[in-house]
Symmetry: C2
Subunit: 320 residues, 2 copies
């Protein structure tokens, strides 16, 4: 009997590393996870990944390739460079992985992997030009141009989280000011609430919560309860994000922008103002040419689907 063709997707996080076998249609055939143990070198991590993978019965599978998603991964070099949550030197993860499984192997960062997951299995199937925006602690983006990730000259293209949204605006972790992610992200909306609480005299239950305990989820919950500060925070987030997305459309003329991640789960609270301000700021020729869509990747499996989609796309484009 012929074997089932699958891709091995590996997503390396600061705490956990998840991996799984995914077929061409995006069906998960096997998933598993291990703790990353961020202080141990990459070689040991991959040793444990493959040990645990091989403990499963893999007889019915033919692994066509390996896709690795990781923070700061560089597709061109196959390496993970100064990863924020791992005590690694620059490490060529593609070479390390191929010591265990000698098949076509590529790596990319999390946001690009999410974009590829969306392209192959999610909200952007059949699309050639779209932008995936991941709204987590920060704002990541993966930009698909002509059916493939835009890597640019360095491999690091698509840093929309660090375009200047407000000149001279909020202090950003990158050392600059006013970056989009200081407004449009889970932490950005917390900062917005904090500013609004100072600026306005409006009553709000959010006045009872210390800054450090505020979360995007809590703000969304209170917005649904009608809290005016929470609602205004979503409106302002939509304003900054919508304007930035209209700018992205002027540059890329993408057919869709897909919002993914924690803050995107707020649904209409985020989508309604974002769409409204995006339309308002859109250049006439691009009006009604770009949809704003929620991700269709199941949040628990997005990392594995994205990492698998990475190598499936390479195979489909004949690049490996």
């Amino acid at each position: 009997m012929s074997k089932i063709e699958v891709a091995l997707g590996i997503d390396i996080g600061g705490t956990n590393t998840v991996f799984g076998l995914v077929d061409r249609e995006g069906n998960k055939k096997l998933t598993d996870s291990i703790t990353t143990n961020s202080s141990e070198p990459a070689e040991k991590l991959f040793n444990r990944i493959y040990e645990q993978l091989n403990a499963h019965n893999l007889d019915e599978f033919e692994i066509k390739g390996v896709g690795i998603g990781a923070p700061n991964a560089n597709y061109f070099r196959g390496s993970v460079e100064n990863p924020p949550n791992l005590e690694w030197d620059d490490t060529n993860v593609v070479e390390v992985s191929r010591q265990y499984l000698e098949v076509p192997t590529v790596c990319t960062n999390d946001a690009n992997a999410a974009a590829l997951g969306e392209l192959k299995f999610g909200a952007a199937k059949e699309m050639k030009n779209f932008i995936e925006i991941t709204l987590g602690t920060g704002l990541g983006s993966g930009i698909i141009v002509n059916g493939d990730v835009l890597y640019g000259a360095t491999g690091f293209a698509g840093e929309l989280g660090h375009v200047t949204a407000v000149s001279g605006g909020r202090d950003c972790g990158c050392g600059r000011r006013g970056c989009l992610e200081t407004y449009a992200s889970a932490t950005g909306i917390v900062r917005t609430v904090s500013e609004l609480l100072g600026d306005s005299r409006e009553k709000s239950v959010l006045r009872e919560i210390p800054f450090k305990e505020l979360s995007a989820k809590r703000i969304a919950d209170e917005a649904r309860n009608g809290d005016k500060i929470a609602l205004e925070a979503f409106d302002y987030t939509g304003l900054v994000l919508g304007e930035a997305l209209a700018n992205a459309v002027a540059a890329f003329s993408c057919e869709a922008i897909v919002l993914f991640g924690g803050l995107a789960l707020a649904g209409d609270l985020l989508f309604e103002p974002t769409q409204r301000y995006m339309d308002e700021h859109m250049l006439e020729i691009f009006k009604n040419t770009c949809q704003l869509l929620p991700s269709k990747l199941p949040s628990g499996d997005a990392a594995i689907l994205g990492a698998s989609a990475l190598i499936w796309n390479e195979i489909d484009l004949g690049k490996v």
Copy 2:
């Protein structure tokens, strides 16, 4: 004897239409021009172009294709749509041209043609990822990704002149506010001077010139004479442009940005502040990855070289 392979480049302007034969190396073998006569339909214009072309002795040439540059040209549809300076309905110029010369024919807008000219014959030879910025009355841009123009979903990608540079800023011809071209263009710097004259009490010979007679060239001349208002206007132009270009690098990770057109002829007056503010606003990982370069297209021939490069690139990429 074998014939010389050339491309026919046609650049349709509101006043004049220039055309010429250009070989693969960018050598002009023939150039000519006619008045556009903006009130006459496209069919008549092309009739006159080919009549005048055929009046030359073309025996030694083999025309491999035709590239047409025009305002509002759409590469995908082969058409010119609502051109600002021509009394045309939407016109399929590719079809019209092919009635006279049945060879591979494509059209694109002026900024994309300039980018292709730079790619094939100018400052961006051998590059795969760069952005051409044309600084004329407005600001146009042609974005090269993986060696070809980025067209996006609509054919109109690359409208960097209409990204919002200053939220709620200057009134733009597009009906919106704060667009980059209202600051960084020949007309933008005139507006900047006008604002500075109101804002400051600094002496300046520019106070003697009516707004309508101010020009980027005059401002550059006075800046070279040490006029402080003129110098400050270039500094401010560099600030707005430099910040916008740093944002473009975060999105595209291009290896160069090439400045072309009237305002770019101001040389160091523009390049020094633009480079300084671009560096200042650049995300760390992109520092020193993107050069700011002056165009190497001779200004008189840029239109013909760009239009020719358009079809040469199609041929080289095997697209026609």
